[in-house]
Point group: C2
Chain length 178, copies 2
DNA sequence: ACCTGAACACCGTTCAAGT
DNA sequence: ACCTGAACACCGTTCAAGT
């Protein structure tokens, strides 16, 4: 039976379509996602109960890279440098995937970042813990602090990105130093 | 002729209704604004061309207090302390008026904060200028940097506000010190 | 079981008719 | 001139019918 693989393929096609469309300017229309994925609107809803759930799935895929990177950086660099590099990667990611981040509503983001911290929270716990253990970072900040402070990335315009983001990350990092 | 004053009253009623409703949870529905203001939907559109324009008017009203405060603080306090107090007031404002800020879309905010910097930009120019002239603040940050970094305020949940916001403002201020 | 797409619901916006 | 509110447009979501 090839039906089962159709289901898998549809789900992937929907996510691919959503990822492509969310990067384009303007709102993400679910009808456009279904059309681009080559499925009916109902099929989209079979896989993702509502708009939030689709965005959440998209977002979770995107975040995994950053999570994996944190572990590597902690091993290979001193804590402050690890955090600096991770911020740079977060920014690079936000630049390309900004559409996803901006499209994810607060409710989804809050859910992902607080409930058992989420994967992203665990990555940040590692980075912040290494820094405070080494005595170079404040020890009174938690992962959600950093996630909140990073919200500015969702609001930087493309034209000003290169000038402004390195400076803003520098300010943020300076604020986290002990 | 009392008609002219009706126009004024309607505009004020619409803004009052919008201010009240934006503070409530959930999206701001323009039909609800018109209903609460006691006017027809068309009247709302006579005064404000679209949703953005209504939010912009609301936002501009809200921001004036902060602008006035900046001048006073610069006169009465040393630069770092002036900025610290202004941040605290910005946060207090965001807490109460958070609905307005969150409802204002990026396009509106970007427009307000970049076009000749806007009133808020001027207030921040004063605060940052005083600090960098006194040699206590970085001199490479501009008002929009601070506006961007303040976006976290729009995403803090009510329950965590008191614990988290003072710490985040402290991190932000530390990052701005020279 | 899964899929399709027409139909429904909701809300921003417009406009014909009223004063 | 200004106002009203029904009507229209758009898009998220549902569901009857098809495979």
């Amino acid at each position: 039976m090839a039906e089962r693989s159709d289901v898998t393929r549809n789900r992937a096609a929907i996510l691919d379509a959503a990822r492509a469309l969310v990067a384009e300017p303007g709102e993400l229309r679910l009808s456009a996602v279904a059309k681009r994925a080559g499925v009916g609107q109902g099929t989209l809803y079979r896989h993702f109960a509502d708009r939030d759930e689709l965005l959440r799935a998209l977002y979770e895929q995107e975040i995994d890279t950053l999570v994996a990177l944190a572990a590597t950086l902690i091993e290979e660099h001193e804590p402050t440098e690890a955090l600096r590099r991770w911020f740079a990667q977060l920014a690079a990611y936000a630049r390309v995937k900004g559409g996803v981040i901006a499209a994810v509503e607060d409710s989804v983001w809050a859910d992902l970042s607080t409930r058992t911290h989420g994967k992203l929270g665990q990555a940040l716990t590692g980075l912040l813990g290494a820094g405070s253990a080494a005595g170079v970072l404040r020890d009174d900040v938690d992962p959600r602090d950093v996630i909140l402070l990073s919200w500015f990335l969702a609001h930087v315009e493309a034209e000003e990105w290169e000038v402004r983001v390195p400076r803003l990350l520098d300010v943020l990092l300076a604020g986290l130093l002990r």
